[in-house]
Symmetry: C2
Subunit: 428 residues, 2 copies
């Protein structure tokens, strides 16, 4: 296939006419598909239903240590749930607290606590003139939402296939004391699907922050969310790397079962140093008596251990894989060689990240929407919703059925072509 | 029985010798009882176990409106849970959000949000020189803990059998713009067990706050927690009273099923005006995608409606009543007429509040502890843990069995007598 940029004006005009006809046909099919969020599909959730039988009216409701989970107490989560979540991310259970139904509120509360109380005795951020966070881009819109809400200045850090641009990260973190944090999704990154290389993780661990209260927000959301049995990404465990590098307090790691059991009805965890745990507990003690231990025990009784979690994830992968493959195949067939977009084939996670020609993302998302396919808003993968190149689009294949997904991907490819042709015609 | 203050020194010395002997006997029984917190007993929790069967692997997991509770979404809670919780406190479901596993974090987050963002557009509290909360005393230690953590100045407001001293409340609220809130437990108050009179509620609703961002924190924790079928307290519904009085935005009302279903694994709710709900959601949107809707649906399917909740509470009352009555009977029998303590017989809630002679509470709690009975720390019912008269003690009869409770109450009465005799001997 010839690259679109090598088309003559005449050829582009012909192609546009043809694509516009196809687009009108597509619109007349009245699609109504949503690829906007990383939501599990009903089929995927159905595989989790036996979790609901793990506790019933004749269950023993005590932990191994004899604590009644139906009553108040145990701020840090029941020990067996700590073990389960620790194994999910490969850390020591002593470094883990198991908390509520999702990890986003832990991240939010950690930033809020830093704003109001200061990190481990440092000056509360609200008393500082300027607080900055580094934001690897493209990234997760809800991370950026938290820092934006608190008035924290966000700085874009370009991502590559091995992780964030570490030269830039080091330059900022090691020199600017206003830089207090960085948002990371280190494995099957949202939205790129790549995982941080060992070198990247080691460079993170070896940072020499100008700010004593600088922390890495390590959102290990897709730790066991592989698509394939044979090809699986693994990353270095950041807590122990930071310890080895003499930076034991530098990282908060987050994870949850939001995309293992039920979204918004799972259990979540934070893993960090003893100092950081003590600091977190010092205000959590006032915020809550304890999180939902009944649900923690339900998860422990059902999954039993890390092998149980992995079995669950195999079932999910079997459902997710055909959808990812459908999208990738359609992108290849329809856009391969045209040089109007780039994408990476992920081995896990929930997204495919698509980079269109500069200045085309918003128009593509708009065209898709007009024909009944909702994508994540263009720009959402950047702080302040502003993609400087208007290029990145996040595709979330998890929710629709494979058939719907194929249909949606075809429309998407058509819109990419149509918008790209129009872009090229502007200067042809 | 003669009042202890009318005893001669001789009589007091004789009594002390006798009480000390009794106390040594008691100690030798090696009691190990905990009356420190308002925790449900295992027997009470057992009556809730069928809740766990309400959802199982063959359940329909959709709301009436067809939303899959296993997936993300619905920040404000599922409509049927809103209805259930609204009926518990007698408000319009449109004014309700159903949130996580307990109500304490909602209160904490509401104060935190006021500190950081300001209430409905007002100046964030962290930018003000001084923020004050009124604290009816004796009150709930975890309320005072939140305001203390945020550095908010707490002002004691004496309680009577009809509620807080409203002359004082009006004086502060209507004149001091630094007064931004008041903590209230309006029904079966923690720890006094009294309920606010209609006049008290109306005077609350008719406040003319000097601060536009003044809010009443109305913690309706014991809304349906009656001990008796025939004698039940009812209070006026504060939201509609505030509306009538032209103060629609002045109150946040909180409630939960923490002491209906499982403690820390129930569902919680806030009820407030449309303006306040919009303000809360504006930052909750960044904090969380949605609370645990599976547990919300579980509660709805099991309890069905307010009648189901009331049936549950009857079972709890049958278990709680004998313990309350055992304590009250022992207090009557052992302390009646001695004029060394006052207590009120509550018709609901979780506590009995005991006022010892001035300067005796800490010593009584210490004596009990020494003999194996743990009470809530003396002073805990006051801001900063400081009871100016060292007089109030909170008794929590919910957790021990009736037999244990009787045993503990006898020891308590003994310690009250012993410490009071010693106090009187100081000046005899």
């Amino acid at each position: 296939m010839k690259a679109l940029k090598d088309y003559t004006k005449e050829e582009l005009l012909d192609l546009r006419t043809q694509l516009e006809k196809e687009y009108e046909d597509a619109k007349s099919r009245n699609l109504k598909l949503d690829m906007s969020r990383g939501k599990p599909s009903p089929a995927q959730l159905d595989t989790v239903m036996p979790l609901l039988d793990a506790l019933n009216s004749s269950s023993d409701m005590k932990t191994e240590a004899g604590v009644d989970v139906r009553n108040y107490g145990i701020l840090e989560g029941i020990p067996e749930a700590k073990k389960l979540m620790a194994d999910m991310i490969g850390v020591n259970p002593d470094r883990v607290m198991v908390l509520g139904n999702a990890s986003l509120p832990i991240m939010f509360d950690t930033v809020a606590r830093s704003m109001m109380q200061g990190v481990c005795g440092s000056t509360p951020w609200h008393k500082l003139d300027k607080v900055k966070f580094l934001c690897p881009v493209p990234g997760y819109d809800r991370h950026f939402g938290i820092t934006q809400m608190f008035g924290i200045e966000m700085i874009n850090i370009p991502m590559s296939a091995s992780g964030p641009d570490m030269d830039l990260v080091e330059e900022y973190v090691n020199n600017d004391p206003a830089v207090k944090g960085i948002w990371c999704v280190p494995k099957y990154a949202n939205p790129m699907g790549i995982s941080y290389s060992d070198d990247t993780v080691r460079r993170f661990a070896a940072l020499k922050p100008a700010a004593e209260d600088f922390r890495i927000y390590w959102d290990n959301a897709y730790a066991i969310h592989h698509l394939y049995e044979e090809e699986q990404d693994e990353i270095l465990e950041i807590l122990s790397e930071c310890e080895k590098a003499g930076n034991p307090d530098m990282v908060f790691q987050f994870c949850s079962t939001s995309k293992v059991s039920f979204s918004g009805a799972g259990i979540s965890a934070v893993a960090t140093s003893e100092n950081n745990l003590a600091w977190m507990k010092s205000s959590m003690n006032f915020q809550i008596i304890g999180y939902d231990k009944v649900n923690q025990l339900r998860h422990v009784r059902y999954y039993k251990n890390i092998d149980g979690l992995k079995e669950q994830m195999k079932k999910h992968a079997d459902i997710m894989r055909p959808k990812f493959e459908a999208v990738l195949q359609i992108l290849d067939e329809n856009l391969g060689g045209l040089e109007i977009g780039n994408w990476i084939k992920p081995r896990g996670g929930y997204f495919i990240s698509f980079d269109a020609m500069e200045g085309c993302a918003k128009a593509i998302v708009g065209k898709c929407k007009e024909a009944g396919v909702t994508l994540t808003g263009a720009g959402a993968t950047y702080p302040y919703g502003k993609d400087p190149k208007d290029s990145n689009i996040r595709i979330a294949p998890s929710f629709p059925s494979p058939e719907e997904m194929a249909e949606a991907a075809k429309l998407f490819a058509l819109c990419v072509k149509l918008v790209s042709v129009e872009k090229l015609l502007e200067t042809a």
